[in-house]
């Protein structure tokens, strides 16, 4: 069983941590690193989240997952199996993932990178529905084209421009 197996599953059923753990178990691995993403109750602005609506570009989720797995193995060659289950319905957990590795260091690092990259690149969208009947599409700050990421880029660019101008002004006074 030396074959590396990578699985990404989108499901409307409740997620099972045991399932993702079982999917990556291997006799050559002494560590299984896991991450479980849960749904936080959003009380911002006094609005309760009544429900969640998910959308996914399913074929591209799979192609992005393949790229992610290649990225993970490039950085941590010891990684054995990778399994990600993502919920597309309302429920306690939104994502469950497990990575097996011979020793724990690679798996622990890889699982952190896996969730960061998933948030930055997986074509999945989530809309919160509030008790006020308002709705809001969520945006991951990890996503480079999110509103917050764009604002940060603009802010950093403006600061850099100011720094260059200051430096040029200082240099020209000789």
């Amino acid at each position: 069983m030396s074959q590396q197996e990578d699985v990404c599953r989108l499901s409307r059923d409740p997620l099972s941590l045991q399932e993702v753990v079982d999917a990556v178990s291997s006799s050559s691995c002494g560590a299984i690193s896991v991450f479980l993403g849960t749904t936080r109750e959003d009380e911002v602005g006094g609005r309760r989240v009544l429900g969640l609506h998910y959308e996914a570009y399913e074929s591209m989720v799979q192609s992005e997952f393949r790229k992610l797995c290649a990225d993970l193995r490039g950085r941590w060659p010891g990684v054995k199996h990778i399994c990600v289950h993502h919920r597309l319905g309302v429920g306690e957990a939104s994502v469950a993932m497990a990575i097996s590795s011979p020793h724990r260091h690679d798996g622990q690092q890889a699982i952190q990178h896996c969730i960061s990259q998933l948030k930055a690149r997986m074509p999945i969208w989530k809309k919160e529905v509030y008790h006020t009947q308002e709705e809001s599409w969520k945006e991951n700050s990890e996503c480079p084209w999110s509103t917050s990421a764009r604002l940060l880029t603009e802010k950093l660019h403006a600061e850099k421009t100011r720094a260059c101008v200051d430096e040029a002004a200082g240099g020209g006074a000789s």
């Binding site: 969730i115 930055a120 997986m122 074509p123 969208w125 991951n140 084209w145």
Partner: protein, 87 residues
Amino acid sequence: MTAQVSIIYFGQSAELTGLKEEEPVSVPTPISSRELWELLQQRHPRLAALRGHVVLAVSQQYVPVAEQLVVLRDGDEVAVVPPLSGG
């Protein structure tokens, strides 16, 4: 040259256009991703709400809205991709 492609809309872009998919859409090729985005905004002016916070995906490859030239072929899939919220 033109190509007959399908355009798929996700998240807020589907709400703004009222569509999940439209095909075939005749698009000049090659075309910059910026011009492609402008073309989509012309078809659906409400998409302007996403300006600055959107990318495209052409044949499942992310393409930022910029001067990047894209070559389209008949049957290609172009997706409008608002900010992601998976995980």
